[in-house]
């Protein structure tokens, strides 16, 4: 797995396909923190949402970076379909984690907040960014070339599912009225709700960890669906 991950990372690095989403991410971070001081959790909430969308872009480019002919060969050497795709998910997740850390650390480093940051803010910030990045990876990968044949449909699919997931946040109250339905929609609203807490929050309530856990679980559920579809479609054994 280490060799496969290293190969995927170098392939992605040398493709330069990360340049547009990374540039956009950095520009938006700079714009967001141009005027100071900023509230901590509110700012992290916005940049988490930003990362949720940008991670969709990263995911598609990571899953499409390898030449289709070479992909067959890499699959043969890796000797496992799951191993191959898990390496792609891992690469996307590591990039998501790196960007989460950058999004949390950079405003602290540049003194963009009005009040002193505490460990609690950092922890909530990383969890909020990374959970939404992970959810985005899970949702976006389902629209990549191995499942959706036309490239244009990949982009439409990814954009639609991310926008719909966000817009459902607004309808959350009405969904709650129909019992159980809320568990079906992508839980973008959960990190945003938690990040709406006041900066003076004395400690992280236990329920927050469960909610973040649910977001990760939702992402894993989509990864499992992706792997099931791929295994069904492929003759590789």
């Amino acid at each position: 797995m280490k060799g496969l991950l290293h190969y995927q990372f170098i392939s992605y690095l040398r493709s330069y396909q990360y340049v547009p989403p990374l540039s956009l991410f950095i520009i938006l971070l700079i714009v967001n923190y141009t005027y100071t001081p900023n509230p901590i959790l509110d700012s992290y909430s916005f940049t988490s949402l930003m990362l949720f969308f940008i991670m969709g872009w990263f995911t598609v480019t990571i899953f499409h970076v390898e030449d289709p002919g070479q992909k067959q060969i890499t699959l043969l050497h890796s000797q496992s379909l799951s191993k191959y795709y898990v390496s792609l998910y891992l690469l996307a997740a590591l990039i998501g984690l790196f960007l989460s850390i950058v999004a949390v650390a950079s405003p602290i480093a540049f003194g963009a907040f009005g009040v002193k940051t505490r460990i609690l803010h950092v922890l909530l910030g990383v969890l909020s960014h990374f959970s939404l990045a992970f959810l985005s990876i899970g949702l976006s990968a389902v629209f990549t070339r191995d499942i959706v044949k036309k490239r244009i449909n990949t982009w439409w699919g990814v954009l639609s599912v991310l926008v719909i997931s966000l817009s459902l946040v607004a309808f959350k109250a009405s969904f709650l009225q129909v019992k159980g339905l809320i568990w079906l929609v992508p839980p973008v609203y959960l990190p945003l709700e938690m990040m709406a807490s006041d900066d003076s929050l004395p400690f992280i309530p236990e329920v927050f960890y469960w909610r973040f856990g649910f977001v990760f679980l939702y992402g894993i559920f989509f990864i499992a669906i992706f792997l099931l579809i791929i295994k069904r479609k492929s003759n590789f054994h």
Binding site: G3, D67, Q70, Q72, T74, H77, N235, F236, H237
Partner: protein, 300 residues
């Protein structure tokens, strides 16, 4: 000749479409076999089943040497690879889980066999299709290989690259490898293949050309000054064509028995002959393929 693999009663369907129907096939040691058939006849499926990449719906695959190591070269050659050959092979070997030192030694040996020493530090995105094809064969041989399977290896290659690949396949065969490939190109069929397998109506028709019974001959093309005579050498060769290029120079195309070739060339060089071409050919094979392609033309 020793059998290394036996496929018995192989059946494969894609949805409701029958691709292979109770097909049986044997693969022999140190033999190049070509699988010939129309598009969609199931050539690639049969190769993938042989390589163990696709499961047959029914039938048995019996490997007669253990472990039988198989290398597979897919039809599609990657267009853009951001690695040097050394980096690429190191990555593929590491993904396979090979030991680093063993991998380095193996790469060194492959680079030597495939004569890529001068290109080892050049990015593969700058390689020609022929060189990329060589790389594809190299990745399939990262581990010691007994059987090399190639899907349309000559597809898209220019004649020079085809000839290079053909020589390479013959070298690999001499080193003891068995090779199973699909191809359309008559050139490769004529010069390198020992055995042709026609895939027709979901079945294989084996047209083995036993190498033991075929007399090996060479085609020799040379230019000789018109003033020189070579009647005394006519017993060693069969003249196919004789053309006056200029009043001073005659171009001769002849067929020579393999054993007599060295002696004949030595005697010709004494007569200030310029050797233009020397190619191994197989008369029986030529007759066979001429018959095969003539049959194909008639069908069309």
């Amino acid at each position: 000749m020793n059998k290394i693999m036996e496929l018995t009663d192989i059946t494969k369907k894609y949805k409701e479409k029958m691709v292979l129907d109770n097909l049986s096939l044997s693969i022999y040691q140190q033999q190049i076999a070509a699988l010939v058939g129309s598009n969609g006849s199931g050539k690639s499926t049969l190769l993938k089943i042989t390589a163990g990449l696709v499961k047959a719906d029914h039938g048995a695959i019996n490997k007669l040497i253990h472990p039988l190591k198989i290398g597979y070269v897919p039809e599609v050659t990657p267009a853009d690879l951001p690695f040097t050959p050394e980096e690429y092979l190191m990555h593929m070997g590491t993904i396979r889980g090979m030991d680093k030192q063993l991998l380095k030694n193996r790469i060194e040996m492959l680079v030597h066999t495939f004569q890529l020493q001068s290109n080892i530090h050049i990015k593969m995105s700058r390689f020609s299709k022929g060189m990329k094809q060589k790389m594809m064969i190299m990745q399939a041989m990262l581990e010691e290989t007994d059987l090399l399977i190639l899907d349309e290896p000559l597809s898209g290659l220019d004649p020079k690259a085809q000839m290079d690949l053909e020589k390479l396949l013959l070298t690999l065969k001499e080193q003891g490898l068995s090779i199973l490939l699909t191809c359309h190109e008559t050139k490769l069929l004529e010069n390198a293949v020992d055995r042709v397998l026609f895939l027709q109506n979901h079945q294989v028709i084996d047209s083995t050309l036993s190498t033991d019974t075929i007399q090996k001959v060479n085609k020799l093309i040379f230019e000789i000054p018109a003033r020189q005579t070579f009647e005394e050498l006519l017993s060693s060769m069969k003249i196919i064509q004789k053309v006056h290029l200029t009043p001073m120079i005659i171009r001769v195309e002849a067929v020579v028995n393999e054993e007599a070739t060295d002696d004949l060339i030595r005697q010709l060089l004494v007569k200030q002959v310029s050797i233009k071409q020397l190619l191994p050919i197989n008369e029986a094979k030529e007759a066979f393929y001429q018959g095969f392609f003539k049959q194909g033309d008639e069908k069309l």
